[in-house]
Symmetry: C2
Subunit: 479 residues, 2 copies
């Protein structure tokens, strides 16, 4: 619902963020603290993202599977680093009906352990590899930090890719393919740029040999991790005994990867694209792409509504349209309401328009208004949606680039953190000591080491210790 | 894997059922008793069913949402009959990390309670109705009876339709639409007939005013409940306070329905369509619709494989095809393997075929073999898949009809149960006493009261007490 007292994005981002999510009807809180309700607009958006990723996974030969929600405690403990990473936030099932269970069951925080315990039976020889699986499911991680819808939720939806290869080379080669799929979907569907790179050993996934991520910069200058990809090497295959006979008849441990994209992206897109008036939905994931608002009084209601229906009929096969003919609210109220909901295009139509044959079309992203002949709408609107998409992407990219600061001076890095100016892209020697010291002094973690920036490390000195730099890293406060 | 010692469907259905599911690679057991792993073939089949239902729901105006997995204990208790029905099989979360929770959380056995507690805030006036929602998710019901894959699983996947109306008339009108969608999807996608009808008050859903179901007859003569639809009336709206202001400004309780189709259908289709050789997948839900088996020796391998690839290329845009060129197994072994997996069409191709330009095409359902020119395959195979679909449906329907016995004599009903001959369709006075007595004496429950048969009740006498019959009911042993 429109509300003049709502926080402004430009003034209080975090209050703005949750209030637009709730007030727009995108989500709601639930009786379980930290778990949200996906209302139709948000679930629709997730379905589009999911299906886009899924289509590309299937083309690439990845097959969907579904493993149980619950994991016996002993299984979860099988890979040491993995359990240490996850057990602090596991939700435990201890009873069924009135019976106490013999062994506690974890609600999956991720499915490595239950999958690999089963999958090892499916693999006999090199002929059974690669085995590339994925599942779309819900996971629970009982975060004790302040939960934030989408960004830090106790339950979220995601894909879990789990792939198994005979050789390290094949496993490694999958990384660029999968990160490429994620990057394309982010760009093509939610108009979202990101920074792909490698996580540090300290920040990597619990159980992985190396983790890679696509990072986003939020409106408050903090970074947030988007989709990720993990090279697990032989860590899990050794813990679970996933072996195969190679062509020479020797038993070998397999190489594994895992990867994910989650509903967190919905939070990122709302945060990045929105403005003081509310959400701005990228057209591809908007359940309603164009809202038609008829403006009438008791005298001309019939003729205006007839024209509104005519407009609807002429565009409905090209865009997802909706007529808001709710008599309980004024047109002005509705303008605000649909701006809050972030619907990409508004079509205003009153008595004048029934005569002129033209309607006013308002873009949500720029609020620009144009008059367009009704007969042209079915051609103009799809193009306009593309334009809005591209413009959102370019704006988000510009914002991102403007908030990455290449620095070589530690004071400058500290200032960037203090003033929440974004990421400090700085040379780093690669030592855990410097990584920790910087974190303690400035609150900045290393989001990742961007692929694109690594060529610049040569000849540079670590921003903290001054020793030779091995990497260029993006330092930022992060979610 | 093929296995001569596997139980035959005709001799030991229940052993056959689980062994073909496991041996074919359709599913696997998991480390959690009663929870199964959906391998690619079964999850693919579920995706097709889900998407078919989802498309029709969306056309009908139902919108997808997603509510949390966990439900606070107090909420679950809010509707008395509902909690009594579900609490004996609820899995309880009591701890998160190392902390004991203040209140136990149920893993959803179904989502009425958590949904309605939230949704009531969304409804103010008649303008907000109808509110027709659906979610696709996983639920847990800790069955203490012997679990059977798909048919009685401790976790299953389903849709939960939850709709809210201003009037009883609108709510009632939804029943035929939704049951019609389910019936069409069963027929068009998994070639499965069913018997739609009303459940008795004793067998209805916990919390519903009236339940309706589509029932199937299994190969052992027992019945199993398929998709269902529940008229909840104002039971939940009164328990949760779901009210709206009508056009006159009066506050009223809303009318609600719920409905579901679940992964149980995968079990039903495997059970009904399969034969002694293994599964028979209806073509629409088969991940691989046609398997090409090249038959070669070291001398002619190259030329045969080349032809196999040519065949594949010529049909891949029309059917989901796969070449089994695994050297580790003989063609005969592969024939058995793919028959076990239930792939609808097998294409055999050896040196002879590279010269004749024709291949042998074998239907899985009838095992009929025909020679078809390679140049014709892209036209013939889609038609053949349709034929297989129709033939499976007709066979299943014939089987179903042959196992419904119209009886008016209690002895006959008892005999049908004793000999597992299927359902006894019999007149019933409608009293709970007769329903219970028949169950005690014969093991038969009332699956439902088929819509189609009700006109025949007039003038008939109850099969047990001899009083005037109100209904015609299908009595059967049931899953």
């Amino acid at each position: 619902m429109p509300n003049d007292k709502r926080a402004k994005k430009s003034e209080n981002f975090s209050e703005w963020y949750t209030s637009v999510l709730i007030d727009s009807g995108f989500i709601d809180y639930s009786p379980v603290s930290g778990m949200i309700v996906f209302r139709p607009d948000s679930y629709f958006a997730w379905e589009i993202i999911r299906d886009a990723v899924d289509t590309q996974f299937k083309k690439s030969g990845i097959q969907n599977v579904y493993f149980p929600l619950l994991i016996p405690e002993k299984l979860l403990e099988k890979e040491k680093e993995h359990v240490e990473g996850f057990s602090p936030e596991v939700a435990w099932v201890t009873h069924a009906g009135k019976s106490k269970l013999d062994e506690r069951l974890a609600i999956r925080p991720t499915s490595e352990t239950i999958m690999y315990e089963v999958v090892k039976k499916w693999i006999k020889s090199w002929r059974d590899l690669p085995l590339r699986m994925n599942q779309w499911n819900n996971v629970v991680r009982w975060e004790f930090k302040h939960p934030t819808p989408f960004l830090r939720s106790r339950e979220f939806l995601w894909n879990e890719g789990h792939t198994i290869f005979a050789t390290k080379e094949e496993a490694d080669a999958e990384r660029d393919e999968v990160l490429g799929i994620y990057e394309r979907v982010l760009k093509d569907y939610i108009a979202m740029p990101g920074i792909p790179g490698r996580k540090t050993d300290y920040e990597k996934f619990a159980g992985a040999e190396a983790s890679y991520s696509i990072e986003h910069i939020m409106p408050d200058g903090w970074m947030i991790q988007g989709p990720d990809f993990h090279i697990d090497g032989q860590k899990f295959s050794k813990a679970f005994g996933i072996t195969f006979l190679d062509k020479d008849g020797n038993s070998k441990f397999a190489y594994q990867n895992t990867f994910a994209i989650s509903t967190r992206e919905l939070g990122v897109l709302i945060a990045v694209h929105g403005d003081d008036r509310g959400m701005i939905l990228p057209p591809k994931i908007a359940r309603i792409q164009a809202v038609i608002i008829p403006i009438y009084n008791s005298g001309n209601k019939a003729v205006v509504l007839e024209k509104a229906n005519e407009v609807y009929a002429s565009i409905r096969n090209k865009v997802r349209a909706y007529i808001d003919d709710n008599d309980a609210y004024s047109p002005g109220w509705k303008f605000n309401e649909w701006e809050l909901k972030g619907v990409p295009i508004r079509i205003e139509l009153g008595e004048k328009e029934t005569k002129s044959g033209k309607v006013s079309v308002v873009r949500r992203d720029t609020l620009e208004k144009t008059e367009i002949p009704i007969s042209e709408l079915h051609n103009v609107l799809p193009r306009l949606l593309d334009e809005i998409h591209n413009s959102l992407y370019n704006r988000a990219k510009k914002y991102m680039e403007a908030h990455i600061h290449e620095v070589e001076d530690f004071k400058k890095l500290s200032e960037i953190m203090e003033k929440s100016m974004g990421a400090a892209r700085a040379p780093w020697c690669g030592s855990h000591e410097c990584e920790m010291k910087i974190k303690e002094d400035t609150g900045a973690k290393i989001a990742n080491m961007p692929f694109d920036a690594q060529s610049k490390a040569k000849g540079k000195k670590c921003i903290l210790c001054g020793k030779e730099a091995k990497y260029i890293a993006d330092f930022a406060r992060s979610y």
